[in-house]
């Protein structure tokens, strides 16, 4: 048994964990591996526990999925791997699998007496890293540690492929970790894991170990600053050193930033890299990402953080969107990573589930979206941003959409936890986005819009909206990023006020509906990415939005901007509210509705708006929309925390932009970038 770990008791499986670099001799690995085993059958549970103990693992057993989830949540770094039965009375094993993937990014092994191919396949698609057929033999359990190592290695590998990482950083990172442990591989693994854990840790900084770097808690504010810095530099050029300089946070080291950046990139990449269809890989990937980021925000309770993050997004998203959207139309499609990373950071775990086609109803329906009402939840902006970024990749919006979806999901999830509303937005946004495109015709825009709209509209009107992370058509969302984000955020809020599980649950429902939960999230991720892209590209997105929305982007570049703001939300809304089926029309109408509700709260029922109407609406409302939003659009960092400005702020910022060319929104939003003229159709 691992001496440093109790017999798998939770207490030992705390963040200090058994894998403290300084404490555990790496060579003992895999002894002491912290396993959580979940099975409703007491006989099997006892046998498994005994077997795992015989393998020298630190075992915690639990017979209900809900308990398992709360255990995992309470001890984010308390376990290395989870083994779960497929058939459980309180929660489907696959659902648990998804939750874990999303929130904690731990390897999960499924097991069942059922060896039918379709069930095993389901395990694969849902992201299980292995599937054991009962009766489980001890030999099978002896090797489960490989999944833990593999996952770590893959994460490193992904980081490697991020590209943008400074070589120095990367090399330095591993080497840093190596110095922590005697065994290279395991040490790296553990170190990296430790680092990851540390960074994900919400605890205050504390130099607990001389071997470890001081823990950095990536609070919402900090993350906002980080994202702002990254956006300023441009995701491609964001190197830890510069980010560090920009952030100017005392005590923050370059390594902290570097590793955070890695995660962020992974997150973005995941978002954008997820294809529309259910791809378990994507899901896993995203899950991982999201999990990572999710942890950042402490799904469990960092409302503030989430908000902050979300809030931040808007500002950032806007900026990013502008930059991304305008500048890098292809950014999204091409390189999901940056976006994904970003998204990850935002912990848009919710996005995934968002894909649910409008499943989010309950999410969104909770409150009539106040698109414009400054929804306190900062999430909106973020979400929008995300959406935007996702939307960015004009070309392959779909991909983005997925990404958004993913993001959205995470966002949603986060939001849910903190603010269900926020989540909803994200999701909605995500989902809407895809919708929009269809109707709109420009996938790109849809995404963007969807994202945006979702936030705003989704929540109020349609629970669906929120769930619509699936915005597959990743398109347009991009453009709308900034403005919408805020809106979206606000939307989410109304819906999801119930933090935590409740929020997530809808998503879960979504997922079911969606069919592939993963997809849902990916969709969201896409949205986010779109937003991010937009944000970064500045103005690119806007164009996209416009196009997608069919707002006749061509009509008024400016208006588009304004409209974009609105339309995306509108679109999104529509997407949400309308059943997934109708898609565009519905989306549009929903969106229109959403927008309306948000903006004028009049025409909620424009179901047929689809685009044209939206256009009109947008035009009309664009001004309004703008006016309302974002007072603090500029202050990204502030977005989150207790910012109610949410939508309204964004809206006003947007409007301002529209009117004035560049919204007063602070530079952070980069409203400047929203010149609609560039809409890359």
């Amino acid at each position: 048994m691992n001496p440093s770990n109790g017999k798998g008791s939770i207490a030992t499986a705390s963040s200090s964990g058994a894998w403290k670099v300084g404490d555990v001799v790496p060579d003992q690995f895999p002894a002491g591996l912290r396993v959580l085993v979940v099975d409703d059958d007491p006989t099997c549970l006892v046998i498994l526990e005994k077997m795992l103990r015989a393998c020298l693992y630190a075992v915690t057993k639990c017979n209900r999925a809900e308990i398992a989830l709360s255990l995992l949540r309470e001890n984010k770094n308390g376990f290395d791997i989870v083994i779960s039965d497929v058939h459980m009375p309180d929660m489907d094993g696959f659902k648990l699998l998804e939750h874990i993937g999303l929130e904690m990014d731990l390897p999960v092994i499924m097991m069942s007496a059922d060896d039918e191919k379709n069930v095993v396949m389901k395990g694969v698609t849902h992201g299980a890293c292995d599937y054991l057929i009962k009766p489980v033999r001890i030999e099978a359990l002896k090797n489960i540690w490989q999944h833990v190592v593999r996952k770590r290695k893959n994460e490193w590998k992904e980081l490697d492929q991020s590209g943008s990482l400074e070589d120095g950083d990367r090399q330095q990172k591993p080497s840093d970790e190596v110095e922590y442990s005697s065994s290279a591989n395991e040490g790296n693994w553990k170190s990296s894991k430790k680092r990851k854990d540390e960074e994900e840790d919400i605890e205050d900084r504390d130099d607990t170990s001389t071997l470890k770097k001081p823990r950095v808690v990536w609070s919402v504010e900090l993350h906002q600053q980080f994202v702002a810095a990254v956006n300023q530099l441009g995701i491609d050029k964001a190197v830890p050193k510069k980010i560090l300089e920009l952030m100017n946070v005392p005590g923050l080291t370059r390594e902290n930033v570097a590793s955070h950046l890695q995660k962020y990139r992974l997150y973005l990449r995941r978002l954008s890299g997820v294809s529309q269809h259910h791809s378990s890989l994507n899901n896993s990937f995203i899950s991982a990402q999201e999990a990572t980021f999710g942890s950042m925000s402490s799904l469990n309770g960092l409302d503030l953080q989430t908000l902050a993050v979300t809030g931040q997004l808007p500002a950032q998203s806007l900026a990013t969107l502008q930059a991304a959207g305008l500048g890098r139309p292809t950014a999204k499609s091409g390189i999901p990573m940056p976006l994904v990373d970003q998204r990850n950071l935002f912990s848009f775990e919710n996005p995934k589930p968002r894909f649910g086609e409008g499943q989010q109803q309950h999410l969104s329906s909770s409150k009539p979206v106040n698109l414009l009402h400054g929804i306190p939840t900062t999430m909106e902006p973020k979400q929008l941003a995300n959406l935007h970024q996702s939307a960015q990749p004009l070309g392959n919006m779909n991909v983005q959409v997925n990404a958004h979806g993913g993001h959205s999901s995470s966002l949603l999830m986060q939001m849910g936890q903190t603010q269900s509303r926020g989540q909803i937005l994200n999701e909605s946004a995500g989902s809407h986005v895809p919708r929009l495109p269809s109707s709109v015709g420009h996938p790109a825009i849809s995404n963007g819009i969807a994202g945006g709209v979702i936030g705003i509209n989704g929540i109020g009107d349609n629970s669906r909206g929120i769930g619509y992370n699936q915005v597959r058509p990743t398109s347009s969302m991009l453009s709308f990023p900034m403005n919408h984000t805020s809106e979206l955020a606000s939307n989410s809020f109304p819906l999801g006020s119930t933090p935590g599980i409740s929020n997530i649950t809808p998503k879960g429902a979504f997922q079911d509906e969606i069919n592939s939960e993963i997809k849902g999230s990916t969709g969201f991720g896409a949205s986010y990415d779109i937003f991010n892209d937009l944000h970064q590209q500045k103005s690119q997105n806007w164009e996209l939005h416009n196009v997608g929305l069919q707002f006749s982007a061509s009509q008024n570049a400016n208006r588009l901007q304004g409209n974009l703001d609105i339309s995306p939300s509108v679109l999104v809304r529509q997407g949400y509210s309308s059943s997934q089926t109708s898609g565009q029309n519905r989306n549009v109408s929903d969106i229109g509705r959403a927008v309306f509700s948000g903006v004028e709260s009049t025409q909620q029922g424009n179901t047929q708006i689809i685009g044209q109407q939206l256009n009109n609406f947008l035009v009309d409302n664009s001004v309004r929309v703008k006016a309302e939003s974002i007072p603090d659009a500029g202050s990204q960092s502030i977005l989150f925390p207790e910012n109610n400005f949410g939508q309204e702020d964004l809206m006003s910022a947007l409007l301002k932009q529209q009117q004035g060319g560049i919204a007063p929104a602070e530079s952070e939003f980069d409203l400047d970038g929203y010149s609609i003229d560039n809409i890359p159709v």
Partner: protein, 152 residues
């Protein structure tokens, strides 16, 4: 010595379980988990199994009395039951479970009921035999307690 005799007897008994197909390899896995720290592990698990699975069997029994039969529910119960039976290596019981599930999928209520009766029989037989087995094992066990001549 009686002790040796007992041991031999127990050994043969156990062997018969495998020969007759009452138990399979999984049971051996359980035995291998037994160690000094948990000297009665197998017995504990089997006891736990019988206690827990009796509830499931009751559920199935009640469900079989309903009309019309809810095959889905029956299948779910049986899946549960099969899982635990498999984990202790109850081979014959497991076979009956499989058969039962097939009938469920085929919607064959009659077949389900017949199989269930058979299953209960096997289940009871195994229970009795294992009880005896454990009892004797404990009596004849490695402990220093005086060997009791009684074997039952």
């Amino acid at each position: 010595m009686e002790r040796n005799q007992m041991h031999k007897h127990i050994f043969l008994m156990r062997q018969s379980f495998f020969d007759q197909g009452l138990l399979d390899e999984q049971f051996i896995q359980l035995e291998e988990l037994q160690d000094d720290a948990n000297p009665n592990f197998v017995e504990e698990v089997v006891t736990l199994y019988y206690r827990d699975s009796s509830r499931t069997l009751l559920n199935i029994e009640q469900s079989l009395e309903k009309n019309p039969l809810d095959f889905n529910k029956l299948d779910n119960y049986m899946h549960q039951f099969k899982g635990s039976s498999t984990s202790i290596g109850a081979k014959k019981v497991k076979a009956e479970c499989t058969q039962f599930r097939e009938y469920c999928r085929a919607g064959n209520g009659e077949g389900c009921m017949r199989t269930f009766q058979q299953l209960k029989k096997e289940y009871a037989i195994l229970k009795k035999k294992l009880e005896t087995y454990f009892q004797q094992t404990r009596q004849a066990g490695p402990s220093e307690t005086a060997c009791r001549p009684r074997m039952n």
